[in-house]
């Protein structure tokens, strides 16, 4: 296994990152701007800045086929950036929310995107041809608190959302005139807008940090603040799920998780590194870390980390030296994304975090 590709972009937290389909462009949410990096040889060079938000940009997503970038921010707005020969042209989306927008993702078919918000709702946004703008419909009903994360089912109709009210939900975002009628799935057959196909609570009612459908869409995994990962296997519409498997770990909470095929989940969070989980219907286990600990070249790109400094002071009474964690990331990992896939399996994935690093890992 070759060493991970580490890019230390700057000394600010990275809220979210997204690669274009050809993996030559990298979009990074940094403070109130979006930075676009282009690949030059083995490194990324800043080539453009998208300025349109006036508060922290919380999430970003590049549609792989159309190349459109969608961003959302604490200023309660979402912008769609259309690539043109003169550069990116922003279009404001009518979200109609009065709290921060927290999370945005394109649907797999790229006709819609979902924006989670602190306004206890999810805005499903789609393009209205007649008026030539992006409008939204609100998924509101059972949501009692801020939406922290959303994830799309491969059919582009079902949406999973995690919330600070400790529930992971599966909802229908079917919009007449935009979506074709979806094939029935284990989650539901008839799916009018705002159908609740599933509502799951973790044992201790911790905040949900991340949700993800398995590649087939027939299982849902979510990570919560009680350091657990829960995998739900639905049975049939309107029936209790076939299995709900929860793994309580000894680790700190996970902030992000991705599926690698149907039998493996990769998750990372406050432990600053990625872990591998393996299992299926009958149970899941933590099977190890992605990172090889005796990694060569640990000394390069040395940086003082406040987190590690206090950790050392706390554990060993040390004030000097050893200010580096043994992991590549020197602070919490907040986002994992598949980077290179072959079929359902992930060959490489990328991670970004509070330490301003973007790392591309081999699975």
């Amino acid at each position: 296994m070759s060493a991970p590709e580490v890019h230390h972009l700057f000394h600010n937290p990275i809220a979210d990152h997204s690669f274009s389909a050809d993996r030559q462009t990298l979009a990074i949410a940094r403070d109130t701007t979006v930075e676009l990096y282009g690949r030059v040889g083995n490194s990324f060079k800043l080539k453009d800045e998208l300025k349109g938000h006036d508060k922290t940009v919380t999430s970003i997503d590049i549609a792989p086929n159309s190349g459109r970038i969608v961003t959302c921010s604490q200023d309660r707005n979402a912008l769609v950036w259309e690539p043109t020969p003169q550069g990116y042209k922003p279009t404001l989306v009518l979200l109609r929310i009065n709290r921060a927008a927290t999370f945005v993702r394109w649907s797999p078919n790229e006709t819609k995107f979902a924006v989670g918000s602190g306004d206890r709702l999810i805005a499903i946004c789609y393009f209205e041809e007649e008026n030539d703008w992006w409008v939204s419909k609100h998924l509101k009903k059972p949501i009692r608190s801020t939406i922290t994360t959303v994830a799309w089912h491969p059919n582009s109709v079902l949406l999973a959302a995690g919330s600070t009210d400790a529930h992971a939900r599966v909802l229908s975002s079917f919009i007449k005139g935009v979506d074709a009628r979806p094939e029935p799935t284990a989650w539901g057959e008839r799916l009018p807008f705002n159908t609740i196909c599933g509502e799951y609570l973790n044992n201790s009612a911790g905040w949900i940090h991340s949700v993800a459908f398995s590649p087939s869409g027939d299982a849902l995994a979510f990570a919560a603040h009680d350091s657990s990962i829960t995998v739900v296997y639905p049975n049939a519409p309107e029936q209790p799920p076939r299995a709900v498997v929860t793994i309580n770990t000894q680790l700190l909470p996970f902030m992000s998780l991705i599926w690698n095929g149907e039998a493996e989940i990769i998750a990372a969070g406050y432990d600053c590194e990625a872990f591998r989980f393996k299992g299926g219907l009958n149970g899941w286990q933590l099977s190890g870390t992605i990172e090889a600990k005796s990694r060569p070249g640990l000394g390069d790109a040395r940086e003082e980390s406040a987190l590690n400094m206090f950790k050392q002071m706390d554990l060993k009474g040390k004030v000097k030296d050893d200010t580096q964690l043994k992991t590549v990331h020197q602070n919490t990992v907040t986002m994992l994304r598949p980077y290179e896939t072959s079929g359902d399996a992930v060959a490489k994935f990328s991670s970004s975090g509070v330490d301003g690093r973007l790392v591309i890992w081999n699975v």
């Binding site: 009692r144 201790s204 350091s227």
Partner: protein, 210 residues
């Protein structure tokens, strides 16, 4: 030119910033009971807690410290009056004080490797923290006399495996809280060794309070 045409007394101050806008929003969490977010927990009454206590004491007297600990942790009291919760805390601490230091880790590992073992240790951690809170606020709460909390009595060490406690003659109130705290602290250390930092995180996250 400013777009604000008129300045009033209230627009010049920042008092408007302190308006609780959530109270004005019918959908806000201020206007629905947060308890509806969680599944209801089984209810316990004072006699239930005392019954459980006597059952567990019988196990202890029979020398089955492991069984006593397991049954104490498998029946956490979440939904009950304060008195019942205090009784169960007392029960758990009695059990903990009976177990010798060198028996702690093997016992915890055994419990952790069980089917729902991780949850049992989370429960134990909750009682450890509750015990620590009770011992540190013990004396002051007696003075203010708020309710049935009499933690100093509850923490009186019994004849335990702790040589530290047994060897002392003439234990004063301060010493006994200190000794009880050292029992809780050594359990805390052992629980973190077995169940990891995740266990502490779960205790802080959990809506079910003991």
């Amino acid at each position: 030119m400013s777009i604000i045409q008129q300045h009033t007394e209230s627009s010049l101050t920042d008092a408007w910033r302190t308006i609780n806008i959530d109270a004005l929003d019918p959908d806000s969490s201020q206007n629905f009971p947060l308890s509806t977010l969680h599944p209801p927990q089984p209810e316990f009454s004072d006699p239930d807690a005392r019954n459980l206590q006597s059952q567990i004491r019988q196990l202890l007297q029979a020398g089955d410290a492991e069984g006593a600990l397991r049954s104490a942790l498998e029946n956490p009291i979440y939904n009950a009056p304060d008195l019942a919760k205090e009784t169960h805390l007392q029960t758990v601490i009695e059990v903990l004080q009976r177990i010798k230091v060198n028996e702690m880790t093997p016992l915890l590992q055994k419990i952790y490797n069980d089917d729902r073992g991780s949850e049992s240790l989370d429960v134990l951690m909750k009682y450890l923290y509750k015990g620590m809170a009770a011992t540190s606020s013990g004396i002051s709460s007696q003075h203010t006399g708020n309710g049935p909390r009499t933690p100093t009595k509850l923490m009186t060490p019994q004849a335990t495996g702790f040589s530290q406690i047994g060897n002392r003659s003439g234990i004063t109130a301060g010493d006994s809280t200190g000794a009880a705290m050292s029992v809780l602290l050594s359990w805390h250390e052992k629980v973190v060794d077995v169940a990891g930092l995740g266990c502490i995180g779960r205790v802080m996250t959990d809506f079910r309070r003991v």
